[in-house]
């Protein structure tokens, strides 16, 4: 598939967002991504026991390894119990925003995917707490099935994801649940489509080793990034995730970050400033748009774990601007995904010309 077309990029993104993959349960989305990467990767594409996808590009015997990471898991819930009427009780997996929970459409990933509703009360019987979001103890899911049927199809430990049908808004902007971080995954698929030389004899493989890691469990304990960066011993890593764009109520430094103005390049104490400078210089030379995100502490991404792996990894973070993070109403701009994918490929190309660092 030619990902230089925005329509194709949208199609693969919508396909990815429609898949399950709440932290710890990423097998389905991992398989989809592994299939996709197989058409480009020169080396092995595999899925490990934790549902991490790795795809190898370039010269596998080279001394230098660059790790490109994006997490494939999504936030959601985990089933903690089923009552005698068939209602399901849950706990959070990742930073679920309970302000968006009541009456939300969800999919319970039981023996089959089941459509559910998070229970709520009608306004006619209001408890008067309309200004207040529910607590997790007050979250119950109704599948509209008899209790015995629920118990047959659903088990404690099954995952639940928010459902929202991926949709296109105005100006190339799209909305779906799980854009955090399927948007980042999509950007790395775009990078793979540029750097990968399998099935294309006119392209030369990169002269160093590149690992694309689509990592599991970022939303919980960054397990995927920790174990795979340990295993692959990268010299450099670029972590691709989503970050905050301007929207009503956002009045801090993110109020100047716009959708559709290119990826956000992050400056943080634990990130490597030389890599940042090199990426900026590549973007400037190619006249790619970018925005700058500065944080005084941790980045809140896999980079925080990758950077301190073994004796340390030079790490950068590139983020796709997003609104309404951790809700079913996440919005990103397709243009920013495309630019992110292209910028990373351009950085690698320039690195192989020996100009970087």
């Amino acid at each position: 598939m030619d990902l230089s077309s925005i329509d194709n990029l949208k199609k693969i993104l919508f396909d990815l967002c429609a898949l399950s993959g709440v932290s710890g349960d990423e097998r389905e989305v991992a398989e989809c991504c592994a299939d996709f990467l197989s058409q480009y990767a020169e080396g092995e594409v595999s899925i490990d026991d934790f549902n991490n996808v790795t795809a190898f590009f370039g010269d596998e015997n080279a001394d230098t390894t660059v790790l490109l990471d994006a997490h494939i898991d999504r936030i959601g819930f985990i089933v903690t119990g089923i009552d005698d009427k068939g209602f399901i009780s849950v706990d959070k997996v990742g930073g679920v925003d309970l302000r968006t929970a009541l009456d939300a459409p969800v999919i319970v990933h039981g023996k089959e995917n089941l459509n559910g509703i998070i229970c709520c009360m009608p306004p006619h019987l209001s408890d008067g707490n309309e200004d207040k979001a529910p607590e997790i103890d007050g979250i119950h899911i109704d599948l509209g099935l008899p209790c015995d049927k629920v118990k047959e199809l659903v088990s404690v430990g099954d995952r639940i994801s928010f459902y929202s049908k991926p949709a296109e808004f105005m100006n190339n902007r799209v909305s779906a649940a799980a854009l955090d971080n399927r948007a980042g995954v999509c950007a790395l698929l775009r990078t793979a489509s540029i750097i990968g030389s399998r099935n294309n004899q006119h392209k030369a493989p990169l002269p160093f080793r590149v690992v694309i890691l689509l990592s599991c469990q970022e939303e919980t304990y960054a397990t995927g990034a920790k174990i795979q960066s340990f295993k692959n011993e990268p010299d450099e890593a670029i972590c691709v995730d989503v970050s905050f764009a301007n929207q009503p109520g956002v009045d801090d430094q993110y109020s100047s970050i716009e959708l559709g103005k290119g990826p956000m390049l992050c400056i943080a104490p634990n990130l490597n400033r030389n890599m940042y400078d090199a990426i900026v210089s590549v973007a400037d030379n190619l006249e790619y748009e970018y925005q700058i995100e500065v944080t005084g502490g941790r980045t809140g991404t896999n980079a925080d774990s990758i950077a301190v792996t073994k004796s340390g990894v030079k790490t950068a973070v590139i983020s796709i601007p997003q609104r309404n993070m951790h809700t079913q109403a996440e919005i990103v701009d397709l243009y920013d995904i495309d630019e992110t994918g292209k910028l990373i490929a351009a950085y690698l190309r320039r690195k192989c010309a020996g100009e970087v660092l």
């Binding site: 302000r99 459509n115 009608p122 006619h124 019987l125 100006n171 929207q247 109403a329």
Partner: protein
């Protein structure tokens, strides 16, 4: 007929904007009605002849409108300000997808929880500070697609899993569905059917429809508040999904006709139809204006127990549709035949 419920539930028809629902209903009933017309408010009033002339003039009524949102302003950045049309608990709005009549979609956004203060994290925003985001870049950009007063519906997500149905607008398209079904059967007596507008904003349509029809009796087919969910004490659950048709002695608008209640109870026992009493004086429906029409109309509401009313996804049991339909059909013949 199963597809019909999906078709009318997923159609758009916020109070005051019921035109497309009415068109669908007209198409479904025009070959089965003897007369029908749309009145000045937009009510669809239908007359169907039965095998016999009625002893008592009966009107069956359901409302076509649903709750939704209306655009009140557009910010300089292109976000849509909105207000509710009909009663909506704000807790069911953040994160929801909405659609406009021209196909434009949007979402009701919330400030990312990571950037919220501890107070904001647990607070549902007020109407003035919640916005629909359609991806517009500016006020001018938004206004090329959306004008002030545009109505937004919850995005339709309809599912029938064999036991229950989940959809928006079950209140009260399920009532419309049952009336269409009645109109498509052979009736014993002549009857009037009113598909009313603007129930959710003050029972406006039913008021003028009842005036025009001038019936002796009325049956209102509605969806009512089932609160049979975890965390609600048994005594506060009002009615139960799956336990059959719901009738009540009284709600916030009406004291119901005792003779009709007794008739419904007798018929349910004779015919083995599941019937439950509403266990709270709560809510209200078009019966509120119909029973006070002109010099008074003997009125009963027969309702479907429905969870999560006035939100994107409500839920009803398929067996309850049959119970409400069968009871309404039997009771209507008793009334029109003068046997009550």
């Amino acid at each position: 007929m199963d597809n019909l419920l999906k078709k009318i539930c997923t159609a758009r028809g916020i109070s005051g904007d019921e035109g497309s629902v009415r068109e669908i209903i007209i198409n479904e009933i025009k070959d089965f009605a003897d007369e029908y017309y749309t009145d000045n408010l937009g009510n669809l009033i239908v007359f169907k002849k039965g095998k016999k002339r009625p002893v008592k003039k009966l009107m069956i009524s359901a409302h076509m409108d649903e709750v939704g949102l209306i655009v009140t302003d557009v910010t300089g950045d292109g976000y849509l300000r909105f207000d509710e049309v009909g009663g909506i608990d704000r807790r069911v709005l953040p994160g929801r997808r909405v659609v406009f009549s021209n196909g434009v979609s949007g979402v009701i956004g919330v400030k990312p929880i990571h950037l919220c203060t501890s107070d904001e994290r647990n607070a549902i925003p007020k109407y003035g500070s919640m916005f629909i985001d359609i991806g517009a870049e500016s006020r001018e950009d938004a206004l090329t697609h959306i004008s002030l007063g545009a109505c937004a519906c919850f995005e339709p997500l309809y599912e029938d899993n064999g036991f229950t149905i989940k959809s928006k607008a079950i209140d009260d398209r399920a009532g419309c569905f049952m009336m269409i079904k009645m109109l498509r059967t052979e009736l014993e007596y002549d009857m009037y059917f009113t598909f009313a507008v603007q129930e959710e904003v003050g029972l406006n349509g039913a008021k003028t429809a009842a005036y025009s029809v001038n019936p002796d009796f009325a049956i209102v087919l509605e969806s009512t508040t089932a609160a049979d969910v975890p965390g609600v004490a048994e005594a506060k659950q009002v009615c139960n999904v799956g336990d059959g048709a719901v009738i009540g002695y009284m709600d916030r608008r009406t004291i119901y006709d005792r003779g009709m209640i007794n008739g419904a109870v007798r018929l349910s026992e004779e015919k083995g139809i599941k019937l439950q009493f509403k266990r709270a004086v709560a809510g209200g429906n078009d019966a509120g204006v119909i029973h006070q029409s002109r010099s008074g109309v003997r009125t009963l509401a027969i309702s479907l127990p429905c969870r999560y009313l006035h939100a994107q996804q409500s839920l009803i049991a398929k067996s309850d549709i049959d119970d409400v339909y069968n009871l309404a059909l039997l009771l209507s013949a008793e009334i029109a035949g003068g046997r009550l």
